[in-house]
Each structure stands twice: as C-alpha cells, then as structure tokens.
C-alpha cells in the first residue's frame, strides 16, 4: 500500500493533473482583465452603488459554493438564458465541459484576485501620477509606465492566489458541471470520486499530497514574488 502511495503518477493521474492546470490557467487568464478593471474602479472611483459592487465581488467568498454552482446551472445550463444564447449563437456549451469548470473556478477566484489587485492600486502614491501629468505625460502613458508597474506585485499575487483557488475549486464545479472524466474531473473532484471507491484510499492519499504541495507552493511563490517586486515595500497580502 505504501509503495502505491509513493509510486510515480499513472497516465490517468497525469491527465487529471493536466486538466486541473488547464482549467485553472484558463480561468485566471480569462478573469484577470475584468478583475483589474473592477479593482481599479473600487480603488479609484467614487460612484453610486459602489458598496453594492464591492459586496457582489465578495459574494462568492461567503455564498455556499453549491449556491454559486446552482446559479451557474440556472444561467448557463442548456435551458438557462445565457447557456441557450451561447449555444444558439456561438455553438458554445459550457455544461459538463471543461470550459464550464473554468467558468466556475473563475467566479470563485474573483474575490481573492480583486482584493489583491485593489490593495496594490490603493498603495500607489498618486503624487507620482500627478507629477507625470504635470510633465505632460498622457493618461495612457501614465497608466502603462507608472500605475501598472507599481500595481504589478498585486497583479502577480492575484494571479497566483486565483490559480491556487481555482485548483481547489470543488463545490460550485460539481454542482454546475458534475463529474465527467476527462472533461470536468479536476483534482478535487477526482479525490471525492476516489473517496467513494472501496479501495480508493491510496489514490486519495496521493492526490491529497499532490494538491497540498501545489497549494503550498503557489502560496509561497506568491509571497516571494510580492516581496521581490515590492523591494521591501508594502506587503500586499
């Protein structure tokens, strides 16, 4: 039994790991621009309903994941308004597909990502931007040469945290896209399925070790990146 646990990953296990990485990468890449815009809005703008936007962004953090998954199913399912539209107009199906798993992971990662980016935007010394403006720099140039580089530690932290969160996503995913081996059977779902099997013990242990290492690695990496880029400046998280 113990030799089973430490044996190299089988092809099936590799494919589960690869699928998990694909789902998480796509989720983070797809949601990052939106997260940056929301974070910018929340950090810099004042507008009516800001409190509501802030609360909505944090909702996936506190809502039971089953509820998030159920809402996704209602909206993006074959009979949901958005799901039907996507399938009629673009021929895209999210339900029971890895793209659906990525959507669920992205939604669940939003609060963490927005928070990390927002904190680093708020930490920017706005006098630097004002100085650049008085020197005649355009707003676009100020954004790309001053604001964005200064916010970068937060963006990187957001990417890594969002990625780690996506790797662990379970509740919303299983509710929305169920368990389809090769499509939606990511690491946590494979662990859950293996737990139900009479002799799944070894597999559960191996996957549990694997996901602990991945999460721990991601958290430490995000911390290192933040420190290195911030040069001993403010910590973002």
């Amino acid at each position: 039994m113990s030799s089973d646990i430490y044996a190299a990953l089988s092809p099936e296990e590799w494919s589960i790991l690869a699928l998990s990485l694909k789902v998480s990468l796509v989720a983070v890449a797809a949601i990052l621009p939106a997260c940056f815009c929301i974070a910018w809005m929340l950090a810099r703008w004042r507008f009516p309903g800001k409190l509501l936007v802030d609360a909505l962004v944090h909702l996936p953090l506190v809502l039971p994941p089953v509820v998030t998954g159920w809402l996704l199913l209602l909206l993006f399912g074959m009979n949901g308004p958005i799901g039907r539209w996507l399938s009629d107009v673009f021929g895209i199906t999210l339900l029971f597909r890895w793209t659906g798993a990525a959507l669920a992971a992205a939604i669940m990662a939003v609060p963490l990502m927005v928070r990390a980016i927002r904190l680093s935007i708020e930490a920017i010394d706005t006098r630097l931007e004002s100085a650049a403006a008085t020197l005649g720099a355009s707003r676009l140039r100020i954004f790309f040469t001053i604001s964005l580089p200064l916010a970068l530690p937060g963006v990187l932290a957001a990417i890594i945290l969002g990625f780690a969160r996506s790797l662990g996503e379970f509740g919303a995913t299983i509710t929305f896209v169920s368990d389809v081996p090769g499509e939606t059977r990511t690491l946590p779902i494979a662990i859950y399925a293996a737990m139900q099997m009479p002799d799944g013990e070894a597999m559960v242990t191996r996957f549990a070790i694997l996901s602990t290492m991945l999460s721990l690695g991601a958290l430490m990496l995000s911390e290192i990146m933040v420190r290195r880029i911030a040069h001993g400046g403010r910590h973002v998280i």
């Binding site: 029971f96 169920s178 737990m195 139900q196 799944g200």
Partner: protein, 256 residues
C-alpha cells in the same frame, strides 16, 4: 459592549446552550440511508414516531459516501444501503452488529427522460442510446462506486452499449443528483430507480431495464456496532414489519 446588549447576548448564549441538551434526550436513533430512500423513509419515520417513539434523525447520501463515513467511525445507529456490496464492505470491517442484517426492499432500474424534451429509445441489446442522446448526456450516479450507477453500468454492459455510451456519461454523487439533472433537462436521459422516476413529476420512464441485465436491487439494513440508542432496533424491526413494508410499497418499492 453596552450592558443591555451584553445581557441580551448572555441570554442568547444560555438559550443556545440549554436547547441541545434537552433535545439530546428525546432525539431518535440516527439513520444513514441511501439517497433513493429519501421520501419514503421520511414518511416511515413519521409513522413510527406516531407510535410514541422519538423522531429518528435521517441522513441521506450515496451508499458509498455513507459507508465511508461509517468506516471513519460515524456515530450512527442504522445503515441502509442501496446494494449488498457496500453492506458487505461495512460488515467485513466488523462495523455492524451480528444478526441484525436484513433486506427491507427491492427496486427496479429505469431509463428516464425529461417530460418537456423527451428522448426516444427502445430498450434492448445494442440499443441506440448514444444516438438518442445526440449532443446531450446520460446522467447517472457514479458507476465506479454509487449503487445506482453500478447497476446502470452493469445493465448497459449486458446490453452491449456501455463502451459506446460511457464517454457521454455525467457522473453524479448520488441517484437523486442524477435525477435532478434530467428534471432540469440538462441531460436528456438518466438512469435512476423506478421509485425515483415515480417521485418526480418532471420526468417520465423511457424504458425499464430487464432484471437479468443487472444484479438484483436490494436494500439491506443493519445495526451499526457503535449504535447506543435504545430505540435503534425498534426502528429496524418496524421497517421489516408489515406496516413498514406497506409504507415502502406505497412508494413503489418491491418486497426484497
């Protein structure tokens, strides 16, 4: 914290701490049961409680998940599995009390389809189930572990169509979760028990799997080794009595 608020807070704490202890005394036995028994056991529990017993605490999930909890030492009184395999595993682990195991009911396996967008498929060897699905999916409980899924896989294998249809299978945690996917029309076909199909008004039966295609579906009950509740065996006996059988029959369960 202001004093009146503090007082209210303390009162609340007292209330919360007082309640569970009084409830623990008249709490009935804890029953871990297969998801397909959800409605019928709730009714059986009420009928039994009407005879002057404390209302049993019912917990439903796939038999595989329950067996896992029992093996991890869940403090419960009775286990009702949807197949003999999981009860065998629990029994081999020395986790049930000797001579308390008995079958309470039987069931049939059916193919269901949503009433709103029904799929047509004729049951039989080499049935064109993959074609009937089109781009949709077949919802069933996990065929590797959950009883309803194992029976379903056995039946489709016997009919010679498992390899063709397995890429289209969506695996649910338990049979009721599979039923829910068909009810919402997200899957155009699903494999559930006849009693599940009967409990739902949103699906209809597209076909019944002949009994020879899968192992007989039986629900064994047993008292768990860790059971301490004085009333645990009374509920088990009630389920096996004519009265209990009548409740099960009312919900479409056959005699074991």
């Amino acid at each position: 914290m202001k004093p009146p608020f503090l007082r209210a807070f303390c009162a609340l704490l007292l209330l919360l701490s007082a309640n569970p202890s009084s409830a623990a005394n008249d709490r009935g036995p804890v029953i871990l049961a297969a998801a397909s028994l959800q409605d019928v056991l709730a009714v059986a529990a009420v009928e039994w409680a009407r005879q002057g017993h404390a209302q049993p605490v019912l917990s439903f999930a796939g038999s595989s998940a329950l067996a896992r909890q029992i093996r991890a030492g869940a403090p419960a009184d009775l286990f009702i599995s949807a197949d003999e395999d999981w009860m065998d595993i629990v029994e081999k682990g020395g986790l049930i009390q000797p001579r308390t195991r008995a079958d309470i009911a039987g069931n049939q396996l059916v193919l269901v389809t949503p009433i709103r967008q029904p799929a047509q498929v004729k049951m039989g060897r080499g049935m064109p189930i993959a074609r009937a699905l089109g781009s949709s999916r077949l919802a069933m409980a996990d065929p590797d572990s959950v009883p309803a899924g194992k029976y379903g896989k056995a039946a489709l294998t016997q009919l010679g169509v498992w390899t063709a249809v397995s890429p289209k299978v969506v695996r649910a945690e338990n049979v009721r979760a599979a039923l829910a996917l068909v009810e919402r029309g997200e899957a155009r076909l699903g494999i559930v028990y006849a009693t599940d199909a009967r409990a739902s008004r949103k699906v209809r039966i597209a076909g019944i799997f002949p009994a020879w295609t899968h192992p007989p579906i039986r629900y064994p009950v047993a008292r768990l080794r860790t059971s301490r509740h004085a009333d645990a065996d009374a509920f088990r006996t009630f389920l096996l009595s004519p009265k209990g059988r009548a409740v099960l029959a009312r919900y479409g369960f056959s005699a074991p």
